[in-house]
Symmetry: C2
Subunit: 306 residues, 2 copies
């Protein structure tokens, strides 16, 4: 009987109406993903990671990019609450907005936070130790013998910037090397701005022998700026990035960087969010999952010229 009904349904191309199912099940089977405007490869990895967990087709992924979260978290909150989602994945910097988390909690919209920096005990958290990762890459340059190291920060409204910088500082302190604040410039994680600030950094009187960029896009921009000035990488200047995004592999020379397992973290976040939605009681879920970074030494860094 069951079989016959299924066959008939198939023959008639019948699909149950999802709106009616949602109405009675009291959920929409929609998962949101919100992110700011980071590099394309970061977005795509995030998306693919989340989708690979959703691929049984029960849940669907709605993308909700939102610019300037830090200055208007309530607006993002409204957007998310109006979107009729069952749960939402928060990529940085939205994952670090206490006001946003407040709103979501008040309205009972479950969320999973991807690499937040503060309030690590709040909600579902998929974490990576940004500070340790920053430490690793800074230590690598110091071990090569660099002493005058420039730093290109990402968008200061992303907590990741602060975390990574903190790691750099630790590594410098351990090596007994002082940080020259004149060699710290601030970008916003994009190539365009990265290029501009890299130019001013490299044109300064005390030009560094190495550059720590807080993501790969800005690192590639720094390489381009160096070439414009007639410097070759890594002979005259070492450049290290962050993220192990596609561009780090396709750049020339391939970038030394830190792998951030973005796709895997997004999978994990989706996995835990869904487990929660499917009614696994919260206590049996660990609140937080940590992922390891990995330093990838490639051809863009070398010992400084004597």
């Amino acid at each position: 009987m069951r079989q016959k009904v299924k066959e008939a349904a198939e023959a008639l191309d019948y699909h149950p109406n999802l709106a009616a199912q949602s109405l009675i099940a009291r959920r929409s089977f929609l998962i949101g993903l919100t992110y700011e405007r980071p590099s394309p490869s970061y977005v795509v990895e995030l998306q693919n990671g989340a989708l690979s967990r959703l691929d049984d087709g029960r849940y669907r992924l709605v993308v909700l990019p939102f610019a300037h979260v830090a200055s208007r978290p309530e607006e993002l909150g409204k957007l998310l609450l109006r979107a009729g989602l069952d749960g939402v994945l928060l990529a940085p910097p939205a994952s670090d907005q206490p006001l946003l988390l407040d709103m979501l909690e008040r309205q009972r919209l479950p969320y999973a936070r991807i690499t937040p920096h503060s309030d690590l005990d709040r909600g579902l958290v998929v974490a990576m130790d940004e500070s340790a990762a920053g430490h690793a890459v800074a230590q690598h340059l110091l071990a090569l013998g660099h002493r005058r190291i420039g730093i290109i920060l990402g968008d200061p409204s992303h907590a990741a910037s602060i975390g990574r910088l903190e790691g750099y500082r630790r590594a410098f302190a351990e090596a007994g090397v002082g940080i020259d604040d004149d060699l710290i410039v601030t970008g916003d994680f994009t190539y365009a701005v990265g290029y501009e600030v890299a130019r001013t950094l490299l044109a300064s009187a005390k030009r560094p022998t190495a550059v720590l960029a807080q993501n790969d896009d800005m690192a590639v921009a720094a390489i381009a700026a160096a070439r414009e000035l007639g410097l070759s990488v890594p002979q005259d200047l070492s450049v290290a990035g962050f993220d192990n995004s596609e561009v780090s592999r396709t750049a020339w020379p391939p970038l030394t960087t830190v792998n951030q397992p973005v796709a895997q973290m997004a999978w994990d976040a989706a996995d835990r969010l869904i487990a929660m939605l499917d009614g696994k009681t919260v206590p049996e879920l660990p609140q937080r999952r940590d992922h390891a970074h990995e330093l990838l030494v490639r051809a863009s860094t070398a010992a400084p010229a004597a």
Copy 2:
């Protein structure tokens, strides 16, 4: 009165239940976007373009990547039909699958096709003349004086590959230059495969003086392969890409390429799809909209060495 109700709703954080609205309105206010696995920047541009049209918040965008469409179009059809969408944006190569279009039409799921190559009168179409674009970039290399030009094709299951190649052939014929089939290699639009086939191309006895790659990722891969062999670009080898994706701007040297207004085309596709969904009768809509390509000459191409 109206005002008072709105205030009360606001005060209570009341949001109407979207599932119930969908049920009665007989639509879900979900738009799907399906694509294969092209470069990250293409996906992101596509997405942002579509989202910029959707940003009034009435419609939401669901992403549905799907690999190997050409070999299993019906599966994608089922996925789309089960997703409860009001309409779907088809990026290549899904936009060129007649079986898929058949299924969507049979089930009355409206769709908009982005840069299809065949059946241009079917459904809503946002087109670009791939052949003319291919012609433009090939002509550029020929005008510089190149005669031995290598070609790196994209995935042959994408109609775009064929269209662009057709344009190359026209330009070659006009210049009275024969195409050497040994200098044509086939990639799949990815960096990794592009790198491999570029190596074999450049290692061949009759090494070309210029390379036409069918997208920017493969062009960048060709530059990397050239560097590995000690060739510098553009002195020893000119390389032209396709798409004007972010990587073409961030590469070194910046790539000569053809701008494909992806974001704008996605906006257009979303615009027309929504106009259709909102009940504008089909006749008053033009069936097809064309977008112009634009040759962007940058630093990766130059006259061949004497």
